[in-house]
């Protein structure tokens, strides 16, 4: 009969759930507690006309356990408290470490990592410094807090030293005023680990940019030539450059196309900038220039 079969199935399933909830007990204890349970449950199901009134098998198991004078479910069966969880994590970590130490390469690697801890402490201080700079000073440095003249910027440099000092001291377990400091250290370490790729990327990027700017000012005379500035009276203006007799000339036009000013472009010593060998007949001082009537797209002779 289907009903009898399904009831028997439900009884068996309930009994199994009860046994599962007692699984932390020794096997013979579970057998003693639940021996004959199916018969009792089946009889009760007959009386109730089904297994709906059985309730929660875990609560049933708890009641069985309590009335038999057995201890509450072990820690594994319920939510672990924070200290238990912490102890569990520490134990798992130790077990993993000893497993890795079991082979020669693992032991060598762990020793290497342990001896590299000071490097991590310094790196952590540096990463936190970069984050502070970005968050509080809105300033991005390369790897060190140097200004354009390659001299240390005092405030960021002092901050970097202080953060590295704190990171190292905390790594050594010093200067820990309380439990909160340990929590803060763990949080900062986690943030640092997450931030390392980004901080490194922008530091490398910043150092490349700085290097490019440095080298371009060294080799290029053009950047040191006084650049024309728009005259405030005639703004907006257009500026064009042309070559007249081997010298670079600058022509400034007003918005309506009238020529405002003209003159040779001079180098940093005040000499006219020459692009061709000096003609023998022309005096070197101030060569005459005939400006084009309108702003030329590409000035030429």
């Amino acid at each position: 009969m289907i009903t009898a079969d399904s009831t028997r199935e439900a009884v068996h399933s309930f009994a199994q759930s009860v046994r599962d909830a007692l699984a932390d007990l020794p096997a013979d204890e579970i057998d003693e507690l639940t021996d004959g349970l199916e018969a009792d449950l089946a009889e009760r199901a007959d009386e109730l006309g089904g297994t709906d009134g059985f309730g929660d098998p875990v609560a049933y198991a708890d009641e069985l356990r309590a009335s038999a004078g057995l201890p509450d479910r072990a820690a594994a069966g319920r939510r672990a408290t924070p200290p238990e969880l912490r102890a569990l994590v520490v134990a798992r970590g130790r077990a993993a470490a000893s497993a890795v130490r079991g082979n020669p390469f693992g032991a060598w690697l762990i020793d290497l990592l342990v001896s590299l801890r000071p490097v991590w402490w310094v790196l952590r201080g540096w990463v936190v410094w970069q984050l502070c700079g970005a968050l509080f000073f809105h300033q991005l440095y390369a790897f060190l807090p140097l200004n354009a003249g390659l001299a240390p910027d005092p405030v960021p440099a002092a901050l970097l030293l202080a953060l590295v000092l704190f990171s190292v001291q905390w790594g050594r377990g010093r200067w820990m005023p309380g439990r909160w400091a340990r929590g803060l250290l763990i949080a900062l370490s986690a943030v640092s680990i997450l931030a390392i790729p980004f901080v490194l990327a922008w530091a490398i990027n910043a150092s490349w940019s700085a290097g490019y700017a440095q080298s371009s000012t060294d080799v290029s005379m053009a950047e040191k030539i006084p650049m024309p500035t728009p005259t405030p009276t005639a703004a907006p203006t257009h500026v064009a450059y042309g070559i007249e007799g081997g010298y670079v000339h600058e022509y400034t036009y007003a918005a309506d196309g009238t020529l405002v000013s003209t003159g040779p472009v001079r180098d940093e010593y005040g000499n006219p900038l020459r692009v061709a060998p000096e003609p023998a007949a022309t005096p070197a001082a101030t060569p005459a220039a005939t400006p084009p009537a309108t702003p030329p797209a590409t000035p030429s002779k």
Binding site: E32, L37, A39, D40, Y60, R65, A68
Partner: protein
């Protein structure tokens, strides 16, 4: 008053008393307890109590196979169980008399009515 708390204190004695009358299997004992007026008794509480009393040496047990289903585990009282029941009855008698006097109810002529009133009161 919550009778389940009172029941916890006297369940051992009640189970021993039921088994003392006649051997029984788990659900049979539950049913007899409920028929006696302890309607609120839980199945699992009775099974756990039987297990504990057996472990304490107050009960003996034997299995009766069933033709049409799972086997039944019967419990019977032994000499130790009878001695335990006698001690518990004496304690209960003294205790219930003291409490009844304290709360000002009529003194109980016999054990059974007090037990029913104290535990079975809904």
């Amino acid at each position: 008053m919550d009778s389940t708390q009172l029941l916890k204190g006297v369940l051992d004695m009640a189970v021993l008393a039921v088994v003392h009358d006649e051997d029984g299997y788990g659900y049979d004992i539950v049913r007899r307890l409920r028929d006696s007026g302890l309607e609120g008794v839980g199945d699992a509480s009775v099974y756990g109590t039987l297990r504990r009393l057996y472990a304490a040496g107050a009960l003996s047990t034997y299995v009766v196979p069933s033709e049409d289903g799972p086997h039944r585990k019967y419990y019977g009282i032994n000499a130790e169980g009878r001695a335990l029941l006698t001690r518990q009855k004496a304690t209960w008698s003294q205790f219930s008399a003291t409490v009844s006097e304290l709360v000002g109810t009529a003194t109980a002529p016999t054990l059974a009515p007090i037990q029913t009133r104290a535990i079975g009161a809904k």
